[in-house]
Amino acid sequence: MTGANLLTWPVLVPLVGAILTLILARCRLSYGYAGLLLVILASAALIQPVILAVFAGCLLAAHIFARLGGARVRTVPMWLCGEEHQYEEVTRR
């Protein structure tokens, strides 16, 4: 195994990122920070320049693929299969 390949060993790095994200989610902290953390950790494991370039190319290709249809983006409220009621409204006393 070459030295460069050894750099790809920390397979568990994104898993640690995922677990941290879950913990942050549990603590009701922002997902944004967790996402940033995950990306940084994943990037650290992909340090070999050729692999990094290939992955960047793949990310770009995936992004372009999503834009091929020219679809519009719209933010909508989450549909929860009905109306949301307050706890007090639905609790039997």
């Binding site: 790809t8 994104p14 793949c58 983006v73 549909w79």
Partner: protein, 297 residues
Amino acid sequence: MSFAINLLMALLVAPLMAGVVRKFVRGLVHSRQGPPLAQPFHDLTKLLGKEDLRTSISFLMNYAPTIVLAAMLAAALLTPMGLPAPINAHGDLVLFVYMLALAAIATIMISVSAVGPYSMANSAAEIIGHFTVEPVMVICLLAAALKAASPTMWDLATWNADNAGSLSMVVAAIALFLALIAQVGKLPFDAPEADTDIMDGPIAALSGPRLAQFQLASLMKQIIYASILAAVFIPWGLGYIFPLNVLVHILKVCVLVVLMGLVDVVNPRLRSEQVMWFFVFVIVLALAALGLAIAGL
């Protein structure tokens, strides 16, 4: 050349094979005509043009499908498909497993960061599925790496081609084939996706182009996993001249995908504990292959 072949396999053959399975395998078993061969392409095209409805402003929610597709593309470029993989010299099986893990983690991120309760409920199923199924492939590839004394995919394939019939590799191939159907999330192991009862599992909140990205990644995953089994553990045909070795590889992948489709069509979904016991058996089988490889058999 291998760059173009791998991309063609991932982007064109993968949806086409899904069409073949839907039309011929599913159609035959269900006694009906089935959709056109190009139906997966029509589905993807339609989704790409549909409005992208977003229920969350989360970075992960919005870009995780891109990461899933990118990781699958990178994995496809690491997979030998009749020829050495395009980035064979720069990445080995560890990077391949890493890419699969990245795709799985991004999928889990989709479900965790979605606002809806269905997606959240399915993140646990996705995590359990990943940690149960992926080790089988890792163990089988490690066994092959031990035998070939190299972590590079092409070395594993060529070693197996030169030393066919090794006991550990036969056991590893059986374990990997048994795990293959669960790895691509097909029946009877489709609990994480669970199309019918929990609203498309972790991808319930995706729509339009992001759903197209995820669907294409799922189709590619099937071809990549089948290619690994075909190239590394059923390595016949690797030594043929150029177009023939690629054609033999495509034929092997077609047979595997059709077999997976057949199992998918004729089986009901297993209960969670049945799946767990099945995977206890498969993991033990994979570990046996690793043990045999360490023993030099």
